[in-house]
């Protein structure tokens, strides 16, 4: 049994009198324990909403969540608020994008760490503090015994994110959801944080869902990658396969717009034309069709299904990119 099974997860925002917005549309994927999977897509592709829906953090009013999210066989969507609260932090942890705004500015980082430890593990003050110092040490905060009494504004961006990770991992959750954990950090710190995350999840056998728009992050970290567009998964593949041989024109476009070291001098990057607002509803056809170089009339005749290809790859496209004869070495792309 997989650790997390998400099946036909659909999130609809809307109130009476307003045209409902489908943010996530029948998304299905599974996460095995110890596995790291990536959710990739640009802003508005539904990746963050997917993670909030799994955590049960979407507001109740004006939001409809349907489908199924099973964690170790338990249906999370039908749990009561109190039951869900017990799971959060203990079974499911989350790391947010902006560590400054996700930490409480008026409480020391130590108190924020011990809060979770005391709630979920029933430790007393002293034990919790000792455990907190150890956690800070583990995430690479220098001089943790002193730092523990500092406030978030006294730490640098990278250290704040380390603290966030320490808090999220405090109770050894089985699944960690990282929602763009490196977006607010500069590039050198990004690399450190990613290395830290991958080491921690490897050592503790924590499964991780990495949500990002940065394909470099995915390349370095994820076992399997889901590419989302307009609320649906358009391609899923094992990471080397995805980078070596992108089949969906959107994935191909994303990869084509990243500068590479082995690119011939003077060659221009190829951006994806248009923007997310050019989408058409999935019910009318492929949402990506208006921006797709391969699109023709077939693409707006109806929604393309998500089909399984040989090698375990899933693809939602009528006119996929044909695999080229010559491929760049995968290890170079996956930096």
């Amino acid at each position: 049994m997989a650790l997390l099974e998400v099946e036909d997860l659909t999130v609809v925002f809307g109130r009476k009198g307003i045209e409902p917005t489908v943010a996530v549309d029948k998304v299905s994927f599974t996460v095995e324990s110890g596995q790291t999977i990536g959710l990739v897509g640009e802003s508005g592709s539904g990746k963050s909403v997917t993670s909030l829906a799994i955590m049960g953090l979407l507001p109740k009013r004006g939001v409809q969540v349907t489908g199924s999210v099973r964690f170790e066989g338990t249906e999370l969507l039908s749990l009561s608020d109190a039951q869900m609260r017990d799971r959060r932090g203990r079974d499911l942890g989350m790391v947010f994008q902006d560590p400054l705004s996700a930490l409480n500015p008026v409480i020391t980082i130590g108190k924020q760490l011990t809060e979770t430890l005391q709630r979920h593990q029933g430790l007393d003050n002293k034990q919790a503090r000792a455990e907190a110092v150890e956690l800070l040490q583990k995430v690479g905060i220098p001089d943790p015994a002193r730092r523990i009494d500092e406030y978030p504004h006294q730490l640098s961006g990278g250290m704040r994110q380390r603290v966030m990770i320490a808090i999220a991992l405090a109770c050894r959750p089985k699944l960690l959801i990282a929602d763009e954990p490196t977006t607010a950090l500069d590039v050198t710190i990004q690399a450190q944080i990613l290395r830290l995350l991958s080491e921690l999840v490897a050592n503790t056998e924590t499964a991780m869902i990495m949500i990002t728009h940065d394909l470099g992050v995915v390349a370095g970290l994820c076992d399997e990658v889901n590419v989302m567009y307009g609320g649906r998964i358009v391609e899923r593949a094992e990471r080397y396969a995805l980078f070596a041989e992108p089949r969906h024109p959107y994935t191909n476009g994303l990869l084509g717009s990243i500068p590479r070291l082995d690119m011939p001098r003077g060659e221009r990057l190829v951006p994806i034309t248009g923007s997310v607002i050019d989408n058409i509803p999935w019910t009318e056809g492929c949402a990506f069709a208006p921006r797709c170089p391969n699109a023709n009339d077939d693409c707006v005749q109806g929604p393309p299904p998500l089909e399984e290809l040989p090698g375990g790859r899933m693809l939602r496209c009528y006119h996929p990119v044909e695999p080229a004869a010559e491929q760049p070495a995968t290890s170079e792309v996956a930096r």
Binding site: G89, L92, M94, N104, P105, V106, E115, D149
Partner: protein
Amino acid sequence: MQMLLERKKRRIDELAAAGQGGTSLAKQALKRMLRDPVALVGLVIVVLFVLLAAFAPLLAPKDPYRPYPELLENLTVTNIPGPMPGFLLGSDADGFDFFSRLLVASQQTLIVAVLATLFGLMLGMIIGGLAGAIGGWVDSLLMRLVDVLLSLPALILAVSIAALFARSNQWTVIIAVGMVSVPVFARLLRGSMLAQRESDHVLAATALGVKRTTIVFRHMLPNALGPVIVQATLTLATAILEAASLSYLGLGDQDPFRAEWGLMLAQAQRVFEVKPSLAFFPAGAIIVVALGFTLLGESMREALDPKNRR
């Protein structure tokens, strides 16, 4: 070379010592405030006022609660004795020592202002806190009640509340003046609680499975308090003015022996043409103290403003 190294070491030690324990945002704000000359002026006025109020009975040279024969001697309808030996500011309209009464009045003024503000603060925070933390229909209901209170001009509200009581005393003044500030505190706290509810760190705390009550009291309330504290300081100033207005309108404390600046001002009106200084001194005292609280409040607001963080 050696010296440079020594210097570097010292600097490192200094930095290490400075980081000890961590400084909260409140501490930083306090530091910023103490660098601001306006805040210092306000602070000095307020501290002097509080000290005066605390030690007024000891400082007063004469008994403020009984008339003196020396003063009554020359007291006629057209003449109120001015300064004379032993009586720094002379007599008031009833043959009491004016200077002593002026000092002792600070006590009553402070008590009324502080208690009225506390009353308004408590009730306002309960209402605003509940509305902001629970939301939904509780929020709507409480806020409509607050709107009703807010729709009445402050003084008229205070006057009508004070008039509800058959015989007014200092408690009716406190309740009336406090009531006026309830809607202000309630709205303010509700607003900043709502802002906190949408904040990332509250979402993050929720994602960690923190209980709702803990989230409200530990993660939302402390972050929402800043503007309320500032407003409380400013309310102290307006409370003094409002209490004085109520006394002036005859809705204040009816105890003739109790000295209070607003009351003294009201009494001085009858004899204004005979001895205007009876009005000037209490009025001046009210103005200075209200100014002190306002300066303090304003600079506190500036210090707590995250835009001024350096």
